[in-house]
């Protein structure tokens, strides 16, 4: 089944200059492997449709079942110069959580039991 990443993880975005980073934390450790295989820099770049103009690097923090996505040249030239209403990119965490995820049977059952709805 497919679910939004939002059902599997929560996230917060931060900024430094023109670089945005998003910490993504799995709600359960069984969701962490799904993030490792599917929340890749390539998929994130495609999902952000041109918002990220530089490199995307991914770091892993297995002890807190989290990843950190660091996206360069992603804030419209930098927090202080950007024409965006969200120059810090703080809302980018919500955009990332709209990434569709393929979820295996066991984890799907966990999500359904929590009342989470799969994607059509």
């Amino acid at each position: 089944m497919r679910f939004y990443l939002r059902e599997l993880a929560h996230a917060r975005a931060g900024d430094k200059g023109d670089t945005c980073n998003i910490g993504v934390i799995a709600y359960q450790s069984s969701f962490y492997n799904l993030m490792l295989t599917q929340v890749t820099p390539e998929r994130v770049r495609a999902h952000f449709k041109g918002l990220v103009k530089g490199d995307i690097r991914r770091y892993e923090l297995p002890k807190v079942h989290a990843i950190n996505l660091v996206m360069e040249h992603a804030l419209g030239g930098g927090v202080t110069r950007s024409l965006s209403l969200d120059p810090h990119g703080k809302s980018y965490s919500a955009l990332l959580l709209a990434l569709p995820m393929e979820v295996d049977e066991a984890n799907s059952q966990i999500l359904l039991a929590l009342g989470r709805k799969p994607l059509a």
Binding site: G17, N21, I25, L61, V64, N68, V79, L83
Partner: protein
Amino acid sequence: MKKNSIRIGAGASYAGDRIEPAAHLAEHGDLDYLVFETLAERTIALANVEKFKNPLLGYNAMLEDRFLACLKFCSEQGVKVVTNMGAANPEAALKKTVQIIQDLKLKPTKVAAVIGDDVLAYCKDNVHRLSIMETGLPLSSLEGEIVSANAYLGADHMVEALEHGADIVITGRCADCSLFLAPMMYEFKWREDDWNVLGQGQVCADMLECGANVSGGFFADPGYKEVPDLGNLGYPYIDIEPNGRGVISKVQGTGGVISPATCAEQMIYEIHDPSHYITPDVVVDFTGVELKPLGPDRVEITGGQGKARPDQLKVSIGIKEGWIGEAEITYAGLGCLNRARLAEAVVRRRIEISGLQLQELRVDYIGLNSLHGDASLLPLEEPYEVRVRFACRSADKLNAQKLANEVETLVGKGPCASSLPRIHVREVLAIYSVLVPRAEIKTHIVYEETHR
């Protein structure tokens, strides 16, 4: 005698932060230290501009209100205060603080100001040698007027002030975490090269540096992440032991939540490589950190490590870089989106006819795509109303103003049935970073003591 543990509270995490939760924490938190962190990348540059206009200003505009609300409790309970509310003018902030203490008739208090983060003269002298971290080009490649250059100082100067008996330590630009690390280093006599302890201390400091962001602020997502009584968010404190182990919590009865989830969001959201987070005091390794729930709103933080501190310090350069003009107008009712799109076409035609000189133009449809552009999910049906936002960057004020005026004239000369527009024109104060050798940054500390 060394203490078994100290409690440090976070009373602010940005220039305009709430005051009443900080006062509540000061009164009821049973604290040893209260830290106010109020500087973002641009705040210090804006403060420098203010100081240039008036040499008595340039420190945090809410310093007086904050101290009037909190210092009475700190003084009565022997809570020491560490803050970067000095911003561009720690010495003026010190004088103001001394006056407040005297006006409040508080017990004798020693106030310290750390001076020396301002390296504008050095940077101006070395524009050809200093390399901009964001672009790799020399500082001299920037065309605008450089108005500020402030180094991110570490905890060492604040530790020195505490060793000299300061009850209140006021700094300008320093690393946010260092404000929290300084009391730990001072109380537990941590050596300046005990990297693993400093690394763990900095992990704990990182938990508090954004204040209520760890206690439920900027966390709530109804149906997914619930936060009780979010409107009455309690500000956090942390208990630190001599080995650096930390337990984070907040005053009972306040709103908010502290859990491994809130701690993890706070821990990761402003670092890049988690094994190599550079601070002036230590290079922090977050990868071994464990977050263990100990009870309601109580989380244990262990496992942080560290490596040797960097030889160079980051300096934020503030530079005037043209102007931004913005204008917004709302269309509502049936066909609103078509009218909004026509409005955009009209403004683009006007830019052409009037020959406006713009470096960049951005058009957003608020309600549809204003934050995420083309990556936005499409709505299932046409919205009932949409707000169009035009934003431009230009070298001079005149062209930014003209763009705003073109949007203003949509009322009466654009599509039918809109709101009145709102327009806003402002100067851009951009921030770039360079690295400066520690030896080039000369600091000193100024003290003043109040009397009965």
